[in-house]
Amino acid sequence: MKNLFKNLVLSEYILIVLFGIALLISRILNFETGITIEHNFWMFITEMITFLPLMFVLMGLLDVWIPKEKVERHIGPGSGIRGMFYVVLLGTLQAGPLYGAFPVAYILWKKGCGIRNIFIYLGAFSTLKVPMLAFEIGFLGLKFSLLRTLITLPVFIAIGYIMEFMLRKRNFTVNQPG
């Protein structure tokens, strides 16, 4: 018991445990801010838990099934405009917040994706999403949404080129945390 407690305090889960205790206390005391925080936390959790585990399983399957040569040929360092097109397509078809793109970037890198395409993928994934576009148009109008899409696209492609230019002579890697 004492050991379990010690392990917990030292683990990466300490913040979430303290957070849970704080939420419990604020429930008992009917502390309004605590209840709002809990509400928002569940909103975030549902967003994350509904898609991330699936995405990771998909990445795991991709990892064991797709041969490196194939990925490298299509989106590798020498893949040109077609390669960029593929990663933009891949990024825009997926849903989820920015941090959901990092594990995909790891797998893409492992399979031989070029530096430029890794960062173009991150840009496409975070800013342009086909599933979200209809939602955006509904709230912000067609003109604004289309303009944003058309202007954002060259901006993150430029970021991809800049990152590639800065990193091409260093040994760039994407790590798997944990």
Binding site: E12, Y13, I16, F19, T33, T36, I37, H39, N40, M43, F44, E47, M48, F51, L52, P53, L54, M55, F56, V57, L58, M59, G60, L61, L62, D63, V64, W65, A95, P97, L98, Y99, F102, P103, A105, Y106, L122, G123, T127, P131, F135, E136, F139, L140, K143, F144, L147, R148, I151, T152, F156, I159, M163, M166, F172, V174, N175, Q176, P177, G178
Partner: protein
């Protein structure tokens, strides 16, 4: 979401039919990757839910509406970089901003930094790319967001 569910389900089934052993290996790999970043994700969500609760929407609207020039753009860029708001909340919030008189340029900068720049998720990003690359990508995205905002402001 439905798409992801369908794609994952179909791939899992197909994979299982073709090679059971490979499928188990793939799923195990995927879950291991997920468990590796789970504590980090949870910590991020804790911080995000506390900050979003302490800074209510009307405060953000007032903050961004105070200036529509360069200062407004700067405030929007900072607020968007710090905040972690899911897309389905960001767009309605942006619509409230526009309706309360915030300029298109400021709104566009806010949305773009919200989506592309993440200070709260920076530690997680650094675990994948290293801290220097993570900071560089975020800084470049910040500059890019301001450029996007200025162009949208000029064209709307």
């Amino acid at each position: 979401m439905v798409l992801l569910l369908a794609v994952s389900g179909a791939s899992l089934l197909l994979s299982f039919v073709f090679d059971r052993e490979k499928t188990v290996r793939g799923v195990k790999k995927g879950l291991k990757m997920f468990l590796g970043i789970l504590p980090w994700l949870l910590n991020i969500l804790v911080i995000a839910s506390v900050t979003i609760s302490l800074v209510p929407q009307h405060t953000i609207v007032r903050l961004l509406g105070s200036d529509s020039g360069p200062v407004g753009v700067l405030i929007a860029a900072l607020a968007g970089s710090v905040a972690l708001i899911p897309g389905f909340v960001a767009f309605p919030l942006a619509s409230i901003l526009l309706k309360s008189g915030v300029s298109y340029a400021v709104t566009a900068v806010f949305i773009t930094t919200l989506l592309m720049v993440g200070i709260v998720t920076l530690p997680l990003e650094a675990k994948y790319f290293g801290i220097r690359i993570a900071i560089t990508r975020n800084l470049l995205s910040l500059v890019g967001a301001v450029i996007i905002g200025i162009i949208i402001g000029a064209l709307m």
